[in-house]
Symmetry: C2
Subunit: 231 residues, 2 copies
DNA sequence: TCTATTAATTGATATTTATCATGAACAGGC
DNA sequence: GCCTGTTCATGATAAATATCAATTAATAGA
């Protein structure tokens, strides 16, 4: 993490959070004047679960994992944070503590914005407030779907679902770098790392995907969806 | 479900959603003039997953279960809806479809309020919007905690956690009617009904709780908490 | 009150998943 | 390039959980 602003302004930022479009010029300037840019190296923790929610975080570049630190040091990876997205857990409006941790996977460029200022804008700008509610709701809806996936499917279904998530939501491509380790894939699907290895192999043996330790290619999308849905 | 209003007005309602305190008298009147009261018998479905989110629902009396209808007709019970609470899933602000179903457990009295009107008030009243965000955030935080509980604990831990939930959040008492069937307890803890029976018996045999088919009494709270936390 | 239906319970067994142990492949530091 | 620590991979085994089958208990109607 290093200081100094590389991004010119929020107004001209190509990775601007889309909800900022509801702010007036003055309001956006207020944001811009109170932002702090930071660059994180792969592996570095960007937000720590339990720490005070003094700032909201906006992804400008790179990828990060958002994860809950659970019982006995076991993590649960919720999602991959991408450029243009707001990172703000529910704790911000409940107990002023970060609900989850965020760690950089690649090099990440991000902006911190004082939560007091953010909250103030929510209060005075109805359209902005509504768009925030939409953002929060979308995350919540995702997490509901995720919950059912994780609770009601067997391992192959859970893993298939995550492989499709990377293809559809993260890389928009049937072929992609697997940026998570087997261990981490396990933390995302609630299974042991050995089981991740075995099921990837099964999927490869049955011709549904190609997989080596760092790359995934979806060969038979229809079948992968079927495995994901069947459970 | 029957028509006719039994509750005098929102203003005087003892089960008023606490966030209504942020509305002006006029705004609250608008709500009051556009509400539709309904009484549900035990077992009746109050909201159906997938149906349009034309209304927000407020619990006035009784208890209901909120649950997601998952894969192969398997349900996942998320929580018990109580008097004074707003029932509005994330779908309301995402895809205009109810994210989950709600069914009455006891006789339930509830008010439907047009979502258009509700949304309008959120837009014009910043404090009300903020309080809604707080409400949504609290639900979301709960669901994050729940997720970790369900994913990282073994059966006894998950069941212990739910027994404590009923004691702490629903009945505020160490002794209570178990209003859910064994099947439903399973749907809440992600386990088979037979396993629910067995673990309840284990907990009873070790003197942690008293349990018969319709009643639960927590005898050794400390130990129950320990089981819940240990996983 | 009696009967039909549903829920609760129990034991036996099968399935799923995790853990342990071990070796191979790989990456970074010097 | 070589050492060293980490991740990946694989088989064997153990643990956790679900399913199946069969009874018993509870409950709602007729």
């Amino acid at each position: 993490m290093s200081g100094g602003n590389l991004i010119d302004s929020c107004e001209n930022c190509t990775r601007q959070w889309k909800n900022f479009q509801h702010l007036t010029k003055t309001e956006l300037q207020l944001i811009n004047e109170n932002r702090y840019e930071a660059t994180f190296k792969p592996g570095e923790i960007m937000l720590k679960q339990g720490s005070p929610t003094s700032n909201a975080l906006f992804m400008a570049n790179g990828m990060a994992k958002t994860y809950i630190e659970g019982i006995n040091g076991k993590n649960f990876i919720m999602s991959i944070a991408l450029p243009g997205r707001l990172i703000m857990g529910p704790g911000a409006y409940v107990n002023s503590r970060h609900t989850y941790s965020v760690a950089a996977i690649t090099t990440v460029q991000a902006c911190f914005i004082s939560f007091d200022i953010f909250k103030q804008l929510v209060r005075v700008n109805g359209a902005f407030a509504e768009s925030l509610i939409e953002d929060i709701s979308a995350k919540s809806l995702r997490s509901h779907i995720r919950m059912v996936n994780l609770l009601q499917k067997r391992m192959s279904g859970r893993l298939a679902e995550v492989l499709l998530y990377f293809s559809d939501e993260v890389f928009h491509n049937d072929e992609y770098e697997m940026i998570l380790s087997r261990q981490e894939l396990g933390e995302m699907t609630s299974m042991a790392k050995e089981c991740v290895v075995r099921i990837l192999k099964e999927l490869e043996d049955s011709g549904v995907i190609y997989s080596d330790s760092s790359k995934i290619k979806i060969l038979d999308r229809k079948k992968l969806i079927q495995i994901s849905e069947k459970g």
